[in-house]
């Protein structure tokens, strides 16, 4: 059982107009096997929360703590956070020209497992992950995210989730830009990975449609840089009916 604990997290970004505070004190605790949905309007700071936990250099932590089983995540480099068990599925996965998916995945798996996976087993692992996400075998030879469609990028992210087996998965708007079929395939991948690894999930989304596939245990409404309301799955139904208007005007 692992615990990811966020306490009073404050984050700012540097802009031409000076530092702007985006996260204004976020408190959240996620345990293994739990699925937490963070929902909120655009610009509320949801993605900033995801990237700050993963350690993106653009964001400056100005207050608060993030710990994973007591270890100080904020003190870790980006790769150390991944090794500690954090995984961020990005909304906009980055193209890495000239680096094949196959090479990238094996390098990442080697880094995270501390030794190169045995070739025969690894090939099988990758093949089965790709098949279950309905990805063509030629995918492995393409360059990372280069020329991928929106759907292919998201499948590639979830394939990594299945292969890299983190303790906590942060899914940043994984549903955005997906058609109904792709949403189902990607969501099934998330559910499958969780069933296999029992990791905790922080699911960031603007819309409720992905929650039909990935059932949250907890729903948090995010507005203006903090969590403004919390509840169970029923809160998502309320958001579906009423939207975010009451939180934005508040």
């Amino acid at each position: 059982m692992s615990t990811l604990e966020i306490r009073g997290l404050k984050v700012s970004v540097d802009t031409e107009q000076g530092a702007i505070e985006i996260l204004k004190g976020v408190d959240l605790t996620i345990k293994s096997g739990e699925t937490h949905a963070i929902m909120g309007p655009n610009g509320s700071g949801k993605s900033t929360l995801a990237y700050s936990i993963a350690g993106h250099p653009k964001y400056t932590i100005t207050g608060g703590t993030v710990t994973l089983d007591g270890a100080d995540v904020l003190e870790m480099t980006v790769d150390e956070r991944a090794k500690a068990g954090l995984f961020l599925a990005m909304q906009y996965p980055v193209e890495v020209p000239g680096v094949s998916v196959s090479n990238f995945l094996r390098t990442a798996a080697t880094a995270l497992r501390g030794e190169a996976p045995k070739l025969r087993e690894w090939v099988g692992e990758v093949k089965s992950a790709m098949e279950s996400l309905k990805m063509d075998a030629s995918f492995a030879q393409r360059n990372v995210n280069e020329g991928f469609s929106g759907g292919e990028k998201k499948r590639h992210e979830i394939m990594q989730l299945e292969l890299l087996k983190p303790k906590f998965a942060i899914l940043d708007e994984t549903d955005s830009g997906l058609d109904v079929d792709a949403l189902r395939i990607v969501s099934e991948g998330v559910v499958r990975a969780k069933a296999a690894n029992n990791h905790g999930i922080l699911l960031i989304t603007h819309y409720t449609r992905i929650l039909k596939y990935i059932k949250p245990d907890f729903v948090h409404v995010f507005a203006n840089g903090r969590i403004v309301e919390e509840g169970g799955p029923e809160l998502a139904d309320k958001l579906e009916a009423n939207g975010y208007a009451e939180y934005v005007s508040a």
Binding site: T77, M90, V94, V96, G98, V99, T107, A108, A111, L164
Partner: protein, 363 residues
């Protein structure tokens, strides 16, 4: 007449004010440009494996196929008419690459080398020159690609750290012939190469690719010139470079001249540089001079940038440490061109050398 490649010299000696010499540190040329070097005939270029049928290599009198105003080449031609001739007979298709190479040369003098590669009509071959060791060499290398012929010319500068290498690699490409050149420069103190092409009949094409990696104190210059003097020829230029370390300096010049007669020309040239540390300098100058509007296309692009933080973040967020992430990004950057070599052993060797250069540069 074009202003590109203008090279008006007093007494055949560049001063550094000429367009063609303005980036080159003349003091580091070992006197090859101003007559102070002691020239020697060395014929250091040798076949590294048995030559296939239809291919011969000999040391003989060389008759130049083109004129040039390059100061060093003219000094070589004044000095000697002897050199190395590689002939590939007409209609010969050579399936495996022809490996040539140079190893240790001279350092107290300068080898003045002439090389002529003649590819007969409708012949097809790959010629690889592997340059290793330390030497001072001035090189006049001409390539005649006959009608309908297809030559891939791979030239690897894996020199030691003391080498000074100034060479003109000039190809004339005949009707419906295609010429592909891949230049790799990863070693040497100073390397100045002029990969240049004349299209002498319609339907010809060339593809000039290259990679270079300069670390502290190294100077690598690659100066293309593609002369579209006939209609319906196609040229592509794609060079990628990385620099790391104090006073690492690279120069890429891409001159393309589309003459009035060259209707239907299709040309595009590209140079990308990756600056991996402060104190390094990449000069990149594409020049396109166009005398006719009746063309298929003409374009160029040049970029010089640093590591993309987003790429590094993405890789590191998957547990890959900074050093490995940088290595992956640099390998990926060069892969597009290195993969074109098509010989795994060489590709691996070049990539390993690039890893070493990157490691030498430190993070």
């Amino acid at each position: 007449m074009t202003t590109l490649q203008s090279n008006i010299l007093e007494k055949h000696t560049p001063t550094g004010r000429e367009e063609a010499w303005r980036f080159t540190p003349l003091k580091r040329l070992g006197g090859m440009h101003d007559g102070t070097a002691t020239p020697v005939l060395h014929n250091s270029l040798i076949a590294k494996s048995e030559l296939p049928n239809g291919v011969t290599l000999s040391h003989t009198t060389i008759k130049s196929i083109t004129e040039t105003d390059d100061a060093i080449v003219n000094r070589i031609r004044e000095f000697t008419d002897q050199g190395t001739l590689l002939q590939i007979s007409a209609d010969t298709e050579v399936s495996s690459p022809i490996f040539l190479g140079r190893t240790q040369g001279v350092l107290d003098k300068a080898e003045f080398a002439r090389v002529l590669i003649k590819v007969g009509s409708h012949a097809k071959a790959t010629v690889i020159i592997e340059n290793t060791g330390d030497t001072h060499i001035a090189e006049d290398l001409e390539i005649q690609v006959g009608p309908g012929a297809n030559l891939t010319f791979i030239c690897l500068q894996e020199w030691g750290s003391q080498t000074i290498h100034a060479g003109r690699h000039h190809a004339t490409v005949d009707r419906d012939a295609s010429f592909k050149s891949i230049v790799v420069t990863v070693g040497g103190n100073l390397v100045r190469l002029l990969p240049t092409v004349d299209f002498i009949a319609p339907g010809a094409s060339c593809d000039l690719s290259g990679v270079y990696f300069a670390t502290a104190g190294q100077f690598f210059e690659h100066r293309m010139f593609v002369d579209h003097k006939v209609p319906h020829a196609k040229s592509r230029v794609n060079y990628k470079g990385a620099l790391a370390g104090d006073k690492a300096h690279t120069v890429w010049i891409g001159d393309v001249f589309i003459r009035a007669a060259a209707e239907g020309t299709d040309t595009y040239e590209l140079n990308r540089n990756l600056l991996l540390s402060d104190g390094a300098r990449a000069d990149s100058v594409p020049n396109l001079e166009i005398e006719t509007g009746e063309i298929v296309g003409a374009g160029h692009a040049s970029t010089t940038g640093r590591f993309d933080d987003e790429q590094l973040f993405y890789l590191m967020s998957r547990g890959i440490n900074m050093e490995d992430a940088r290595r992956l990004v640099v390998r990926g950057f060069f892969n597009e061109i290195v993969a074109e070599i098509g010989i795994e052993e060489i590709q691996n060797r070049i990539m390993t050398r690039i890893d070493e250069e990157l490691a030498k540069a430190g993070n």
